[in-house]
């Protein structure tokens, strides 16, 4: 490329003498400075006719063609930018009139300047967005000067149209929302604009904004762009303060957000946020003082708009909107009169009043009704800004593979991953250029959290990350693969692979998933893809609003709110009948309602909806989780477990699902595996939020009291308002036979909440097991009055009715006692027919039958309960309801069996602390299967 001739304007190295004046310095080739200046001394009258040159030229019709650049004929000059000039030009042969931008004379200083200009052109040409000025052509003129053409914006730019827009605030907000989305688009492709100002936002004939002048746009890691020239600024009023801090500042999208806010501010008030006598003053002010509030200058606007502007103009970039998209969303919300900036949901503890079923309310409830946290988020808002900050060296067709997660024992499996990696590499290479890398990271704690994924992506410089979750069913392996965008963690592809008995399964896997993975990697732009993965319920405005509102209501944990949420979800389902998400949420809401009020029609609704949801989208984590919740409520724990695992397979490991899996294992009588999952879950989250009590219960069932006490004490410490810890400790004392100790705790416990019932239940149980039947009868009597059918899900599965009956029996009041027990029998039988596979329910029946002397039946049901998973042999040993069976050999044998089974499990569970997990994962004793 020939360097332009203004390079001639350098002082050359060779000194020559001017023949005319003998001066020995030259300016340009052959031009002598001295002569030039001498010439300027000429008689002024000679210089009178300065327009004469132009005249002469046009007179003579110099055979100098109209200025042609490539296929364009330059018409006239529109304006001047930083290093470029913009002309109107006509295109041949179409005749279309376009804007043509070319490096200006001042800009033609060096090869680097030309390269910069070229970069701007290529950046802009790569963008295709309705609000980014489209570039038609990038080329070079004959003498090597680059230029490009773009759409001619007929209404000039925001700077010139400012006045016209002054009285149309809504129009201004709308324009800026569109600009924000355009900027988001460029961020996602790795470019910050860095020079947003009204002059750079062009307007076409229909007032549609077109962002232009990406001249200072840059990759983050491009070293030659470290400096910023003040001279290219008209005014720094739109510069984020950190931009002036120099090359060491790490600019993020927030810098562009600032500019957007400043422009909006000016459009609405007529002046930029900061004014100053000179550029430096403005910059200093912007970094020293907080930005003025919108309403200081005009009372026209409401607080929300003021808040939006203020948030853009925060000095600290991390406090601003973290993405242009977030800003656009809030602006749109304002335009629609909707509330801006979502409030985070808080989960209050005090829901127990209405709960009938479970004692572990906060934990279980949230596990069961937790709604697609991550999946919903990414579909609605989280565009993951870091995708904009990718390194320029990332290959586009690159995928990193993390060690697979073995779901059966929750350990990483790097070996499977390795073999799949090489097979995949082979397959991909046959399809085209692609790179597969194996990574060691990920085999750590958080397993597939967004941070982990990003780190993996960066470590191996991959654009996508493949995770696998494997398990063995009937001897055959099953792996669920998820391909995630390394920058954002968003899922791009979900694929379930089932071993069909092939010889080389790794090869088979490569063959099967290679093509779809390659197809995904070949796509330049994943936003389209993720768009199409968006649930139809979120694409429809009405349905979306209903879903989001319903979700918020669900987190309030009152029946009234739940009912309203159910109505909203029903609306969403009607509006978008093929929205798997809407059905999932409706299912979850309906199921949750049955926690509060045992209205089984809601459970049926939940089940129908959940099944629909799964059918509509078999790879939707939300659907499977909803179904898991339904099964759990039905007491079908095996199915619930399967669905919960499927949730992990389809939407990855999430803390709430993990908790659900844990409580299901617990219900199935596998506290060891439950523990596994609970600990796993707490690692993901980083805290063991509310899980400690559940962990305590598991240890208690495993008869490892030391661990159990530790866990309960932790719970009590971390959640002093929650009685679970304290009640748990009581429970241990009781099981050890320390009645006095247990009683004392109940009396003195800080966690003593009368209205919650747990305390009362504990107190009653203590007396019951201590065989103080009179006291027990009174306590259970009180409890039964408030809640006749309750108590069954507390420790020991002692329903108030059966306890009362037994107590009266024991006190000598046989008739009364038995009458009550008969009543209970009927109820328990009904319960068993409803939930035949729920060990707790069957156990309760056995207890009642034992109290009534129905030995055979009792033993049979007890046996069933044990085989279904009942393992609390210590309660069994102390429970007065089973007195009639104490001398029975079979009974004694059963007790023994359970206790040794538990001992086995206990041995196999090690207390898992962080170090052990990290260091010894592959040394963990297998045998958890």
């Amino acid at each position: 490329m020939k360097v332009c001739s203004s390079a001639e304007l350098r002082l050359n190295g060779k000194l020559q003498q001017c023949e005319n004046c003998c001066a020995t310095s030259f300016l340009v080739k052959g031009l002598c400075l001295t002569c030039l200046f001498r010439g300027a001394l000429e008689d002024p009258t000679n210089l009178a006719d300065s327009g004469a040159f132009a005249e002469t030229v046009s007179e003579l019709c110099i055979r100098d063609a109209k200025w042609r650049l490539g296929n364009y004929e330059v018409l006239d000059e529109i304006g001047r930018g930083g290093m470029g000039v913009i002309y109107r030009a006509r295109e041949f042969p179409s005749g279309r009139v376009v804007a043509l931008k070319r490096v200006s004379i001042e800009g033609l200083d060096s090869l680097q300047a030309l390269a910069r200009f070229r970069r701007e052109a290529e950046t802009a040409a790569a963008f295709e967005h309705p609000n980014i000025v489209p570039v038609y052509y990038v080329g070079e003129s004959d003498d090597g000067i680059p230029f490009f053409t773009m759409k001619l914006a007929s209404r000039g730019n925001l700077g010139t149209s400012r006045a016209a827009l002054r009285n149309q605030p809504r129009q201004c907000v709308l324009i800026m929302a569109k600009v924000a989305r355009a900027i988001q688009y460029s961020h996602e492709r790795g470019y910050l604009h860095r020079d947003l100002k009204p002059a750079n936002i062009l307007l076409d004939e229909s007032w549609e904004p077109l962002v232009s002048d990406f001249g200072l746009a840059k990759w983050q890691n491009d070293p030659s762009q470290l400096t910023r020239t003040l001279t290219t600024l008209g005014t720094p009023s739109y510069l984020a303060p950190e931009q002036a801090a120099g090359p060491s500042a790490q600019l993020t999208a927030a810098a562009d957000v600032y500019s957007l806010g400043a422009i909006l501010f000016e459009l609405l008030t007529g002046r930029p946020p900061f004014l100053g006598e000179h550029p430096l003053a403005v910059i200093h002010q912007a970094s020293e003082r907080p930005a003025p509030k919108l309403r200081r200058f005009t009372q026209e606007f409401d607080r929300d708009l003021e808040t939006i502007c203020a948030r853009c103009l925060e000095r600290d970039p991390s406090v601003r909107y973290q993405s242009a998209k977030d800003l656009a969303l809030d602006l749109n919300s304002w335009l629609d009169d909707r509330p801006i900036t979502a409030r985070p949901a808080k989960i209050p503890y005090r829901v127990a009043r209405w709960a009938r079923r479970n004692r572990m309310l906060a934990g279980t409830l949230t596990a069961l009704i937790a709604l697609g946290g991550t999946s919903l988020l990414w579909q609605v808002r989280d565009w993951g800004l870091q995708s904009a900050m990718r390194e320029s060296t990332l290959a586009t067709r690159s995928v990193g593979i993390m060690p697979f997660l073995n779901l059966d024992n929750l350990t990483p499996d790097p070996i499977s991953a390795q073999s799949v990696a090489s097979s995949l590499q082979g397959k991909l290479s046959r399809l085209g250029p692609a790179r597969v890398s194996l990574t060691q990271s990920g085999a750590s704690v958080s397993w597939g959290g967004t941070e982990e994924i990003r780190k993996v992506g960066q470590d191996v410089k991959a654009r996508a990350v493949l995770t696998g979750a494997e398990r063995t069913i009937d001897g055959k392996k099953r792996i669920s693969f998820r391909l995630l965008d390394a920058a954002t963690g968003q899922p791009l592809l979900v694929h379930l692979w089932q071993d069909k008995g092939q010889k080389d399964s790794a090869k088979a896997i490569g063959e099967e998933i290679g093509q779809p993975i390659y197809a995904v990697l070949s796509a330049k732009d994943w936003s389209n893809m993720t768009d199409s993965m968006v649930d139809p319920g979120l694409r429809d405005q009405i349905a979306r609003d209903a879903i989001l509102a319903g979700r918020d209501l669900m987190f309030r944990y009152t029946t009234a709110d739940l009912d309203r949420a159910i109505d909203l979800f029903k609306k969403a389902v009607n509006t978008a009948p093929d929205s798997s998400l809407a059905h999932s949420y409706l299912a979850s809401a309906a199921t949750s309602r049955t926690h509060y009020i045992a209205d089984w029609s809601y459970l049926k609704l939940g089940k129908d909806e959940a099944i629909k949801a799964v059918r509509l989208s078999p790879i939707s984590g939300d659907a499977h989780r909803a179904l898991a919740g339904v099964y759990y409520q039905e007491g079908r724990f095996t199915e619930a477990l399967e669905e919960a695992i499927r949730t992990v397979e389809t939407s990855g490991v999430e803390e709430k699902v993990v908790r659900l899996i844990g409580i299901t294992f617990d219900a199935l009588g596998h506290p060891d595996r439950a523990l596994n999952w609970f600990t796993f879950g707490s690692r993901i989250r980083g805290t063991a939020d509310g899980i400690d009590a559940q962990i305590g219960d598991c240890w208690a069932k495993l008869a490892d009291d030391k661990q159990a006490l530790q866990a309960y004490n932790r719970a009590a410490e971390l959640q002093p308002d929650c009685p679970q810890g304290g009640v748990g400790v009581c429970h241990i004392r009781l099981l050890k036979g320390d009645f006095a100790g247990a009683r004392e705790l109940v009396r003195k416990g800080r966690w003593n909440h009368e209205d919650l019932g747990d305390t009362k239940r504990m107190a009653a149980q203590i007396e019951f097991f201590a065989r103080n039947f009179e006291a027990a009868e009174k306590l259970y009597g009180d409890l039964a009055q408030a809640d006749p059918g309750g108590g069954g899900s507390f420790y020991g599965a002692i329903t108030y009715g059966s306890a009362l009956g037994r107590a009266r029996q024991a006190m000598g009041d046989n008739t009364e006692g038995e009458a009550l027990l008969e009543h209970c029998l009927v109820q328990e039988k009904a319960a068993v027919s409803r939930e035949p596979e729920n060990p707790e329910v069957v156990y309760r029946l056995a207890a009642v039958e034992a109290s009534l002397g129905l030995t055979e039946s009792a033993l049979e049901h007890l046996h069933t309960a044990v085989s279904l998973g009942w393992i609390d042999y210590r309660s069994l040993a102390m429970d007065p309801r089973f007195d009639a069976l104490r001398d029975n050999l079979e009974f004694q044998l059963m007790l023994k069996n359970i206790s040794s089974k538990v001992a086995d499990m206990r041995l196999r569970s090690q207390p898992l602390n962080a170090e052990e997990w990290r260091n010894n994962q592959w040394q963990r004793r297998v045998g958890m299967n």
Binding site: G39, L47, E77, H278, P279
Partner: protein, 273 residues
């Protein structure tokens, strides 16, 4: 003679209308613009002139600082710091525009600035990280400076070198503008051809060659080249005019620069005359 304050834009229009005598209308001097900035309440966009200032005139400043013995990197920093002080209005306030010309004022301020800096140990100014000039340009200029110091100007005083660089800056700018005028009317090629002959005298020009090249008669070529030069001179005078206050001063300034150029140029006494 009244001092007329016109914006550059207006002046351009005026020129192109060719209505009035060019010497009675001056593009607003740098002075006036700067003073206007001081008074204004910071109209957005009103700082263009100051920013432009830095971009246009940094080379002589930089060259001077280099001549004073600073390393390129230090000279860079100092130049920038100097402009920051200019932007902050410190130097202008203390200057008396009635007396000196922009060039001499700038030089004087620069000299003081450097002394000041030497006395107080060098402190990085706040905002000094803002780059006025692209990195590449510094490098270019630094290499130019090297050239300067190896030729006959090595013996010249620092002030002379400053003036020299100043003059060449003005000459370059005038050339830029002429080039753009031609380009915007589609006469790029014409400019290329004629610019070779901008300073040369009559005898030197091959009119026949040009006439063939341009496809016009020799007589037309003569007229063309003459007017081309005239146009350039007008532009050059305008550039000079921007740095002085009154029209009378333009001639003085040009004369001054001529002498600065000759004295520097002919300091090498070995050249025969």
């Amino acid at each position: 003679m009244l001092e007329q304050l016109f914006s550059d834009v207006h002046a351009d229009r005026v020129r192109s209308c060719n209505v009035l005598h060019p010497l009675t209308h001056f593009a607003t001097t740098r002075w006036s613009l700067i003073r206007a900035e001081q008074d204004s309440q910071g109209r957005p966009g009103g700082n263009d002139a100051l920013a432009e200032l830095c971009q246009i005139y940094w080379r002589p400043i930089f060259t001077f600082v280099c001549r004073r013995g600073y390393s390129v990197a230090d000279a860079q920093d100092l130049t920038q710091d100097f402009f920051i002080e200019v932007l902050e209005g410190k130097l202008i306030q203390s200057a008396d525009p009635e007396r000196g010309r922009f060039r001499s004022l700038l030089l004087k301020s620069l000299t003081n600035f450097l002394i000041d800096r030497k006395v107080k140990s060098r402190r990085r100014k706040r905002g000094g990280a803002i780059q006025f000039v692209p990195w590449e340009d510094w490098i270019d200029e630094a290499s130019t400076h090297k050239i300067l110091s190896t030729n006959g100007l090595a013996q010249a005083s620092d002030e002379t070198v400053f003036d020299f660089r100043w003059a060449s800056t003005l000459a370059e700018r005038a050339l830029h503008r002429l080039r753009e005028e031609c380009e915007s009317k589609g006469h790029r090629r014409l400019f290329e051809v004629l610019s070779d002959y901008l300073a040369a005298d009559r005898g030197d020009i091959s009119y026949r060659h040009l006439s063939m090249l341009l496809g016009v008669s020799e007589a037309s070529v003569k007229k063309l080249t003459h007017r081309f030069r005239v146009r350039y001179r007008v532009l050059l005078r305008e550039e000079v005019a921007k740095t002085v206050k009154t029209p009378e001063q333009v001639d003085d300034e040009v004369r001054y620069l001529c002498s600065a150029l000759s004295s520097g140029a002919c300091s090498n006494g070995d050249e025969s005359m």
